[in-house]
């Protein structure tokens, strides 16, 4: 019946999984019990890591890829996709995660960077990568390196949404500006040189800038991460234009993780319905405490470039 020509690891297949996660919540989990709670609460995927960002922040020291046996225990516990983090630039950690058949690799500023010059060349990998970005240039550089999904960096482990808001707004505003150029690109030679200037400014190929300008959209989904602690936070960033949310410390550092997790899932689907948002925001217990950004010792979002 079929020609039996089968290809794996294409960009379409990698981006495809990112698209399947749209409208969903990806939850940080540190044990297989957490992972089960997350799956039961309706998580679209889990991020397996040894310590949630709030604890990484508190403990200090070098944060690395989690131990394989810890990630494997989570792979065995749930049927939804399992993601795991590697340090920026650390392609050997990524090779190990790929050998474990992790579903998605997060090249993450939450861990201590391994390379200050180069991010991972993500094209040769069969497993898709997600990378953080604080602005459009950073997003485009990660995409040209092969990322299949972009998320805001936010300021992980703070329970404070303000940085994620800044990053989402920056990316979306710059996208809209580029789209204005795209509308004119067919007719005017000065516009082509403006696109070239943008490509140079962002240090990415002209073709990528042109494609983004013409489609008025990134070629991969844009999710929000960093500081989401409440159902209202999830609805807020979805209304701003995020296509799904990552929740790190916000769930398992709160009073009632199961209930809060379910509430954030419902809020992410029904982000435009204030009555449902009100209903799911009731009786959740205390959220994680949270930090003010200018009192932090380490700004994770400054990692990467």
């Amino acid at each position: 019946m079929s020609n039996e020509i089968v290809t794996t690891g294409t960009f379409r297949v990698k981006r495809g999984l990112a698209e399947m996660l749209e409208g969903g919540v990806i939850m940080d989990v540190v044990t297989s019990e957490h992972a089960k709670i997350a799956e039961d609460a309706g998580a679209a995927a889990v991020m397996a890591l040894e310590r949630v960002p709030a604890d990484i922040r508190r403990d200090g020291g070098v944060a690395r890829m989690s131990a394989p046996e810890m990630i494997e225990s989570i792979q065995q516990a749930v049927s939804i996709p399992v993601m795991a983090k590697v340090r920026i630039g650390h392609f050997a950690e990524a090779q190990i995660l790929e050998a474990m058949e992790v579903d998605f690799i997060d090249e993450s500023e939450v861990l201590t960077p391994a390379d200050e010059e180069k991010h991972i060349n993500k094209h040769p990998f069969g497993v898709p990568f997600v990378c953080g970005a604080t602005n459009l240039g950073e997003a485009l550089r990660r995409i040209s390196e092969g990322a299949a999904l972009i998320r805001s960096k936010g300021e992980a482990g703070t329970g404070n949404i303000v940085e994620a808001t800044r990053h989402l707004r920056a990316i979306l505003t710059e996208l809209a500006e580029l789209a204005k150029l795209g509308e004119l690109a067919e007719q005017e030679i000065p516009v082509i040189s403006a696109l070239k200037a943008k490509a140079k400014e962002h240090r990415v190929p002209l073709e990528l800038v042109r494609e983004v300008a013409e489609n008025a959209k990134l070629p991969v989904p844009l999710f929000c991460a960093g500081g989401i602690a409440t159902p209202a936070d999830a609805a807020f960033v979805m209304q701003l234009g995020a296509e799904a949310v990552f929740v790190g410390s916000g769930i398992f550092k709160s009073d009632n993780p199961q209930k809060r997790a379910e509430a954030i899932v419902e809020a992410t689907t029904n982000y435009m319905d204030p009555h449902i948002l009100l209903k799911v925001s009731r009786n959740l217990g205390e959220p994680m405490t949270g930090d003010e950004i200018d009192k932090l010792e380490t700004r994770l979002a400054d990692r990467g470039w």
Binding site: V13, E19, M20, E22, A44, S79, V265, T269
Partner: protein
């Protein structure tokens, strides 16, 4: 019942060239296409529909069901969508609409939710049991094993269909009433039974709209039949109860 075997009864050949039928599809204005928008790649289905000039509506609440003539259930995580079907009180109204003959197409997670039996899911996962198949979740393996293949669908005249499988389910059993339209490595990947169409792959991740066109044409035909039977039925003074089984959009 009025709408039984609606999709199966129409012998469409399918277009050989993508994009041929945008103008022929009588869907716009007549048939509102719903796309279940609880979680997953609803946007991709809406994009491929709008590229053919067809507008669609996201379905999140049971009220939304009253405004649509057919429904696409997209890919995503079936455990999440299952939970949200219950949370948003959609499960019973949706099941009733499908029983009443509303054409529905499930891709990947959508197929899982329409199946009679689901293996490898969560114990409390709900499903609509709208088509007599048993599916196993993630049966091709984890994401690293996700793949693309060119699929011939000779049963409906569609050669070289670009099929994208993302952590896809496999049909491990199909009942006698189920029409297997395409197989991959000996396992059914495209099936239909009455008003229910399912695929384990994702046509919405490509720009090939042949299956979308086929679904819309059959759905439109289905509605015509229902409308015709409704007017006949009206002449014969059918009880209001029977008429209420029809999708509301067919009552105009």
């Amino acid at each position: 019942m009025v709408a039984d075997s609606c999709l199966a009864g129409s012998h469409l050949t399918g277009n050989t060239a993508a994009g041929v039928s945008a103008a022929e599809v009588p869907a716009t204005g007549v048939l509102t296409v719903g796309v279940l928008g609880l979680q997953g790649d609803a946007r991709r289905h809406q994009d491929i529909l709008s590229a053919s000039g067809v507008t669609s509506k996201r379905v999140r609440q049971s009220e939304d069901l009253e405004q649509i003539g057919c429904l696409i259930m997209p890919g995503g995580e079936s455990t999440t969508i299952s939970m949200m079907l219950e949370a948003n009180d959609l499960l019973q109204p949706l099941a009733a609409k499908i029983r009443a003959g509303m054409p529905v197409w499930g891709t990947c997670a959508g197929m899982i939710l329409l199946a009679r039996e689901v293996r490898g899911g969560r114990d409390d996962q709900v499903h609509l049991a709208a088509i007599d198949i048993v599916v196993e979740r993630n049966a091709y393996g984890r994401q690293i094993s996700s793949f693309e293949a060119s699929l011939d669908i000779p049963t409906i005249g569609m050669p070289d269909f670009p099929a994208v499988f993302i952590r896809s389910p496999v049909v491990i059993e199909a009942g006698e009433e189920v029409e297997v339209l395409a197989e991959f490595r000996g396992q059914p990947v495209l099936c239909r039974q009455d008003n229910v169409l399912v695929s384990s792959f994702h046509p919405e991740l490509t720009s090939d709209n042949r299956l979308h066109d086929m679904f819309l044409k059959e759905a439109a035909k289905c509605l015509d039949i229902q409308n015709g039977q409704l007017s006949n039925a009206a002449k014969e003074l059918t009880t209001p109860n029977e008429a209420s089984f029809l999708p509301s959009s067919s009552v105009r």
